[in-house]
């Protein structure tokens, strides 16, 4: 599958200024998002996946800031955009669906008002009637009855609210949708339905979807590629089939091994990863995973590995897959 790049993120860092010094929640991360793909971004709490998602829309609030790197969207570096350009970019080019629709939707606005407002803020010349028509079309497409247009958020079920959020994200025909734990608070059947719908929407509009989640099984179900983060570092990126077939980074292997699998032909034992993710105020030296890594070598605790393309489009951030003079010495 050879697709064009939609987004190219290069060496992106997000730093929070705290009382005990700067904390790099996202540390020199590089990756691409291709047109029309679903990229699953996974990792555990605090690994920086949500921060990275927000950074792509430059929505990092102080005391945090994007301290390094560039975000190239359709060949333009959006780090150079001014506020007005950014406002236009958000919504029209890229938009975000958050986890909790109840806090993202305005409790005193009806469904139709949410959608119409979104259209009219970005497209000033659209009148109410045509905005309403577009809103209705979107609602139908998402499988919500049009009688729901005049409902308030509290009158809708969780699944319906999340579909309204999705509609708001899609109504300006953005090319990139960032879904940050969009299905997390939903029951499995509702989640499965929304997942189907997101996939259908991707097929129909040919948008790219960055799916940020801790639900690794859901990524296996939906994504074309998977990106794994650990303690602010991107540790592995690859095709979904390749990574699940043979995870190369020891963290990816451990993470995939600890995911419960409902099928009885799967292994009966879950992998038990020792330790816990590090505190990012004082991350371990070298590779941040080395204290928990079953394959750690002396070099791992001293020098950070580089992101290496070990196979075409397969990137690993681990000393096992790259050479270093020191590594050779220690081995001998």
């Amino acid at each position: 599958m050879d697709r064009d790049k939609l987004v190219a993120v290069k060496d992106l860092s997000v730093t929070y200024q705290t009382r005990i010094g700067p904390v790099s929640a996202v540390d020199h991360v590089s990756f691409d998002i291709y047109k029309g793909e679903i990229l699953g971004l996974v990792g555990e709490s605090g690994c920086g996946k949500s921060t990275l998602g927000k950074a792509l829309l430059r929505m990092i609030d102080p005391p945090g800031e994007i301290s390094n790197g560039e975000i190239v969207f359709e060949d333009k570096d959006i780090m150079q955009y001014d506020d007005k350009q950014m406002r236009d970019f958000r919504g029209r080019k890229a938009s975000m669906i958050f986890q909790d629709p109840m806090t993202s939707l305005n409790p005193v606005q009806r469904v139709d008002q949410h959608l119409i407002e979104t259209i009219q803020v970005h497209e000033k010349d659209v009148d109410n009637a045509s905005a309403l028509e577009r809103a209705g079309e979107m609602i139908r497409k998402l499988g919500i009855g049009e009688d729901r247009m005049i409902s308030y958020p509290h009158q809708l079920s969780g699944g319906m609210r999340q579909r309204v959020m999705t509609g708001i994200g899609l109504i300006l025909s953005a090319n990139l949708i960032i879904a940050d734990e969009a299905t997390t608070s939903l029951d499995v059947i509702v989640e499965a339905k929304l997942a189907d719908q997101l996939r259908d929407i991707r097929d129909e509009f040919d948008i790219s979807l960055l799916m940020i989640t801790h639900n690794i099984a859901l990524v296996a179900e939906m994504a074309d590629r998977i990106a794994v983060m650990y303690a602010g570092h991107m540790v592995e990126i690859g095709d979904i089939y390749d990574v699940f077939e043979e995870p190369l980074h020891p963290y990816t292997a451990g993470l995939l091994g600890s995911v419960p699998n409902i099928q009885f032909d799967a292994s009966e034992e879950l992998y038990k990863m020792p330790g816990e993710p590090p505190n990012l105020t004082r991350p371990p030296e070298g590779c941040r995973f080395h204290p928990r890594c079953p394959k750690a070598m002396p070099i791992c605790s001293r020098i950070e590995p580089a992101m290496t393309e070990v196979e075409p489009k397969r990137f690993i951030h681990c000393w096992l897959y790259q050479d270093h003079p020191e590594k050779m010495l220690r081995k001998g």
Partner: protein, 335 residues
């Protein structure tokens, strides 16, 4: 159901329990209408939990799984039916008798931060149960707590003893909650979504710990979860709930490999599998879970059921044993 098991093997028996919650109404509604509406959270559920087993209760939000748990340990009075714990009917016990029984049934909740007092050190939080239930052993309390810390993997125990909840990680907090539940030597542990908030890598450690402790302390678990994949790793038997009623009960292996109720089938199919080669192809049931104030007549699943027939709207299905030890509440489920 399951009458074959001898009575003395049963630790907890819930017999036709019902729990209805009255719906709050505004003052004006109360004045003008006398009719009180009820949410039928649990409607006629019978479960027998054997000594030493881990019984799972699974279902979506609003299926009544937490309410059943609360009723099972006497934290919620029943609207109808009986909850019998080790031969004692909880509904007829006095407050004082119930309080004494509580050391034999303990609870682990979902959010350890919410279940621990932020101003109580971990050691004294765990000791609290000993103070109440074993006041005569006051000299040994500290040692008992330290031993328990070691058993749940909080080592070095003395390091954690004087810490406060905000100083440790989420996984460690849940270990404290487990220690607090086990310190009174319970027979039954009600675990209500105990690993739902933990990250994947922490979750597998906690599950492993719970399995180990169950063996070591001869525990019986009532394990409430919405996550069927997690249930597979800890439960022996499982009951699938839909809108306050049991849809299907059997061993985990039996239910997962030969689901017979159309709802169980849909629920199992909806669980994503961490293997991109086994993506779901099944269609999901139409509609959403109906309102439990006015549940559908007959079989509560009939409006969404792919195999519903006209009489499903009229006749309420009873649990039938369709395979040995496998009970299904569907009149048209095929074997």
């Amino acid at each position: 159901m399951e009458n074959k098991t001898k009575e003395k093997d049963i630790l907890l028996s819930l017999q036709n329990i019902k729990k209805y919650f009255p719906v709050q109404k505004s003052l004006i509604d109360q004045i003008f209408s006398k009719k009180i509406e009820y949410i039928q959270a649990v409607d006629d559920v019978t479960i027998h939990i054997r000594r030493g087993e881990a019984f799972g209760l699974a279902g979506e939000s609003g299926s009544g799984k937490t309410t059943i748990g609360m009723c099972a340990i006497g934290l919620e009075p029943l609207t109808e039916g009986n909850a019998i714990f080790d031969g004692l009917d909880l509904t007829t016990q006095s407050h004082e008798e119930l309080r004494k029984l509580r050391k034999r049934m303990q609870v682990i909740f979902q959010d350890p931060m919410a279940s621990l007092n932020p101003r109580m050190s971990l050691g004294s939080a765990v000791m609290q149960g000993l103070k109440i239930h074993y006041p005569e052993k006051v000299a040994e309390h500290r040692d008992m707590v330290i031993t328990m810390f070691e058993k749940v993997g909080l080592t070095p125990a003395l390091f954690y003893y004087n810490k406060y909840p905000h100083q440790i990680s989420g996984g460690q907090r849940q270990r404290v909650v487990i220690a607090r539940a086990l310190i009174t030597h319970p027979d039954l542990v009600l675990a209500d979504e105990p690993v739902a908030m933990a990250d994947v890598s922490v979750r597998s450690l906690l599950l492993d710990l719970m399995v180990k402790l169950k063996k070591e302390f001869d525990l019986t678990y009532l394990f409430i979860t919405h996550d069927l994949a997690t249930a597979k790793y800890i439960c022996d038997r499982i009951g699938i709930l839909y809108l306050g009623k049991l849809a299907e009960v059997s061993t985990v292996k039996e239910v997962y490999q030969y689901p017979m109720h159309p709802y169980t089938k849909a629920l199992l199919a909806a669980v994503p599998v961490p293997n991109p080669k086994k993506r779901r192809t099944e269609q999901m049931p139409k509609g959403e879970i109906p309102n439990p104030i006015n549940p559908p007549s007959g079989c509560r699943f009939h409006p969404r059921c792919p195999i519903a027939r006209p009489d499903c709207a009229e006749i309420e299905p009873k649990l039938r044993e369709l395979r040995p030890g496998h009970f299904v509440a569907c009149r048209y489920a095929d074997v």
